[in-house]
C-alpha cells in the first residue's frame, strides 16, 4: 500500500484499476551495435508505422473534435519526417554505433529542450509534441504496444502528464480518475478533468516505474490523496463513499428544471460563474438560470498579443447565443494582481492586490478598454448581455466609464455597425464601494458583490498568505453587514444585487442571504444544483 498527496483539480472519489501511461525514458538503454544498416532499416520501419498511426489519429480526431484540433496530428507527421530530427538520429546511430531507440531518445531530448527553452509560451508547449512523437517512435522500435484505449476497462489513468495524442484517444466513459506527476491547472489533464467531472490529482510525486498497470488505486479528490494497492478496508470505505456521491448526484439530477424557491415561497436567481466559452456546456448541463460572472480574462491570458475586437466579439456572441436569451453578465478585463500577462508590461508591484489592475488599467489604457467595449456592444445585439465593471471605488470612475462608452457608441454609429447598449453594473469588492453603495446605485443597473476581494480588503488578510489562515473568518460579521448594506441600498433605488464571490456558494449562509433579500447568487456550475437543493429546503420567514 502506498499513499501519496497532490493538488486536487476536481473533487470526487474513484476506485479502480490503474493504467500507467508514458513511463519515463529511463528504460531506453544504450546498446552498442555492429550492424548500422540494420538499425537504420528498423528506424525506417518504425517511422512508417508511426506515420500510419498518426494518420489514423488524425482521422479519428477530425471526426470527433474537428479540423482545428486534429491538425496537431498532421503536424506530428511532419515533425516525424523533419530532416534535422532524422539526420541527428541517423548520425548518432552511425557515428556512435548505438541502437536506434537510444538515438531517438537522446535526439528527442535535445529537441525537447530546444523548445522548452524558447521564450514563447506557445513554442514551449510544443516540447510536449516532440516528446510525443519521440515516444511513439521508441514504442514502435521496441515493439511495445500503445495502450489500447478501446478495449480498456474503466481505469485510473496515471501519467507524467497527458499528451495530446492520449487525450484524444481516450474514451471518456472509461476514465475513472487522473493522477499525474506534472501538469498545471491549465494542463490538458486538468481541463479534461473539470470538463468530465472526474477526480484528478496533479503534482503527485509518484514513481511511474514502481506502479504497474492493473494495480488497484483509490483516488480521493476531496483530500487530494491517492492510495495504490489499498487495503480491503480502504476499498470498502471508498466504495461506500462512491455510492454516497452517486446517490447525492442522482438526487441533484432530479432538481433540474425546478425553481430556486424556498419552502415559504421566496425565490432567488442562481447563475453560474465561468471563465471560457467552453464552460457554457456545464452551465446548461447544470441548469443555471444564466451566467452571473463571465470572466473575460481568458481572451487575454496565454497569448502574446492583445485579442482583437473581432476575436472578442465572436466569443461573446457565441456565449449569448448559446445561452439563448438567458442573462449573460460579462465582466470587463480584470487583469493585474494575481493574474499577470506579459504583453501588458505591468511591471512588478509590492502590493498587486491594491495595485494597478482591472478598471484602473482600462481607464488609463483606453485603447484596450474601447476594443473590449466595442466587442461587447456589438455582441449585445445577439442575446441578453450585461456588462459588469470590476474594482470600482467611486462615482467618478463610473462617469468616466460612461463617457468612454459614449465615445464607443459614436464610433460604432460612424462605422455603421449595429450594436445595443446593454445593462451595465459594477462589482462591489472594495469597502469604499460598499460605503457609498447608495450613491453608486443611482448610476448603475445592478451590483454584484465580489466577496473574495471584499473579504481580503475588509479583514486586511492576504488570501495568498497561508500563515494568516487562522485569522481568516469568511463569515465575519463585518462582511455580512456589508452585504446587507449593499443589498438594501440597491433595493432603495429599484436595482438588484447579487453575490458572485465564493461566499455565494457557501451553503451555511444561503438562508441568511435569502433573508437579506439577495436577488442572485452566482456560483461554479457544479454548485448550482447543490445550492438549489439548499434553497428548496430553506424557510426564510423569521419565526416570532
Amino acid at each position: 500500500m502506498q499513499k501519496l498527496s497532490g493538488k486536487s483539480v476536481y473533487k470526487g472519489i474513484a476506485l479502480g484499476p490503474v493504467i500507467v501511461l508514458n513511463k519515463s525514458d529511463e528504460k531506453v538503454k544504450r546498446i552498442k551495435i555492429t550492424d548500422t544498416d540494420l538499425e537504420l532499416s528498423k528506424l525506417e520501419e518504425a517511422g512508417k508505422k508511426s506515420a500510419g498511426q498518426l494518420q489514423k489519429l488524425y482521422e479519428k480526431a477530425l471526426k470527433e473534435v474537428g479540423e482545428a484540433s486534429a491538425a496537431i496530428f498532421e503536424v506530428h507527421q511532419m515533425l516525424l519526417e523533419d530532416e534535422d530530427y532524422l539526420d541527428a538520429i541517423h548520425n548518432m546511430i552511425q557515428t556512435e554505433m548505438v541502437n536506434a531507440e537510444y538515438a531517438v531518445a537522446v535526439t528527442g531530448d535535445n529537441f525537447y529542450n530546444m523548445f522548452a527553452n524558447m521564450d514563447d509560451d506557445y513554442m514551449k508547449a510544443r516540447a510536449a509534441d516532440i516528446k510525443d512523437i519521440s515516444n511513439r517512435l521508441i514504442r514502435n522500435l521496441t515493439g511495445e504496444k500503445e495502450v489500447d484505449f478501446d478495449s480498456m476497462e474503466p481505469s485510473v489513468i496515471v501519467a507524467d502528464d497527458l499528451t495530446p495524442s492520449e487525450t484524444v484517444q481516450m474514451d471518456k466513459d472509461k476514465i475513472l480518475a487522473f493522477v499525474t506527476v506534472h501538469g498545471s491547472t491549465n494542463s490538458h489533464t486538468s481541463i479534461l478533468a473539470r470538463m468530465m467531472n472526474i477526480p484528478a490529482l496533479i503534482g503527485v510525486p509518484v514513481n511511474l516505474n514502481e506502479i504497474q498497470s492493473g494495480m488497484q488505486a483509490v483516488v480521493d479528490g476531496f483530500n487530494g490523496e491517492v492510495v495504490f494497492e489499498p487495503s480491503e478496508e480502504i476499498c470498502d470505505e471508498a466504495g461506500k463513499r462512491i455510492k454516497e456521491e452517486q446517490e447525492k448526484h442522482n438526487l441533484l439530477e432530479t432538481l433540474k428544471g425546478k425553481e430556486n424557491i424556498t419552502k415559504d415561497g421566496k425565490s432567488i436567481d442562481v447563475y453560474a460563474n465561468i471563465g471560457s466559452v467552453g464552460d457554457v456546456g456545464y452551465v446548461l448541463e447544470n441548469d443555471a438560470g444564466g451566467i452571473g460572472l463571465f470572466r473575460s480574462e481568458f481572451l487575454y491570458l496565454g497569448k502574446n498579443i492583445y485579442p482583437t475586437e473581432e476575436e472578442q466579439f465572436q466569443a461573446y456572441k457565441q456565449v449569448v447565443q448559446m445561452m439563448a436569451g438567458k442573462k449573460v453578465i460579462i465582466r470587463t478585463l480584470d487583469i493585474g494582481a494575481d493574474k499577470q500577462v506579459d504583453y501588458f508590461n505591468l511591471g512588478r508591484e509590492d502590493n498587486p492586490a491594491m495595485g494597478y489592475r482591472a478598471i484602473r488599467i482600462c481607464l488609463k489604457e483606453k485603447g484596450i478598454f474601447k476594443t473590449q467595449l466595442r466587442a461587447l456592444l456589438r455582441a449585445s445585439v445577439f442575446g441578453n448581455l450585461s456588462i459588469m465593471y470590476p474594482m470600482i471605488t467611486s462615482v467618478d470612475e463610473i462617469k468616466e466609464i460612461y463617457s468612454i462608452v459614449d465615445e464607443v457608441k459614436e464610433e460604432l454609429d460612424g462605422d455603421g455597425i449595429p450594436y445595443e447598449l446593454p445593462e451595465q453594473g459594477i462589482m462591489i469588492e472594495t469597502p469604499a464601494a460598499v460605503m457609498i453603495s447608495d450613491d453608486l446605485a443611482e448610476f448603475v443597473d445592478f451590483f454584484s458583490i465580489g466577496t473574495n476581494d471584499l473579504t481580503q480588503y475588509t479583514l486586511a488578510i492576504d488570501r495568498q498568505n497561508e500563515r494568516l489562515d487562522d485569522f481568516y473568518n469568511p463569515h465575519h460579521k463585518a462582511i455580512l453587514r456589508m452585504i446587507k448594506m449593499v443589498v438594501d441600498n440597491a433595493h432603495k433605488c429599484g436595482k438588484w444585487a447579487g453575490i458572485c464571490g465564493e461566499l455565494g456558494a457557501d451553503l451555511e449562509l444561503t438562508g441568511e442571504f435569502l433573508r437579506m433579500g439577495v436577488d442572485e447568487l452566482s456560483v461554479a456550475p457544479s454548485m448550482i444544483l447543490k445550492l438549489r437543493k439548499e434553497i428548496r429546503e430553506s424557510t426564510v420567514t423569521v419565526r416570532e
Partner: protein, 85 residues
C-alpha cells in the same frame, strides 16, 4: 537568387500549423528556399528549424529562393505568405 521580405500579419505568428503548411509548399520546388529572421537563416523545408525561429506576429522575415525553378517558386512562396501569413 531571388529574395523578398515579408512582415508576418497572422496573429499567431509562424506557429506549428502555418509552419507545416510552409514546409509543404517549399517542398514542392527544387530550389533551395531559406527563411531568415534577425540574421538567423534556416531552410524552409525543415519544420523544427522553422518553428525554432519562434516567429511572431509583426516580425520581418527575409525569404530567399535559389535554383532552377526559382522564378516559379518565388511567385508561389510570395503568394503563399500573402494569403496565409
Amino acid at each position: 537568387m531571388r529574395k523578398f521580405s515579408y512582415t508576418i500579419k497572422d496573429e499567431v505568428g509562424l506557429h506549428a500549423r502555418p509552419a507545416g503548411e510552409l514546409v509543404k509548399e517549399a517542398k514542392k520546388y527544387k530550389s533551395r528556399i531559406t527563411v531568415c529572421k534577425d540574421g538567423k537563416s534556416v531552410e524552409a523545408t525543415k519544420l523544427m528549424a522553422i518553428m525554432g525561429l519562434g516567429v511572431k506576429c509583426g516580425q520581418l522575415l527575409e525569404v530567399s529562393v535559389e535554383g532552377e525553378d526559382e522564378d516559379t517558386a518565388y511567385e508561389a512562396l510570395k503568394t503563399f505568405f500573402e494569403t496565409n501569413l
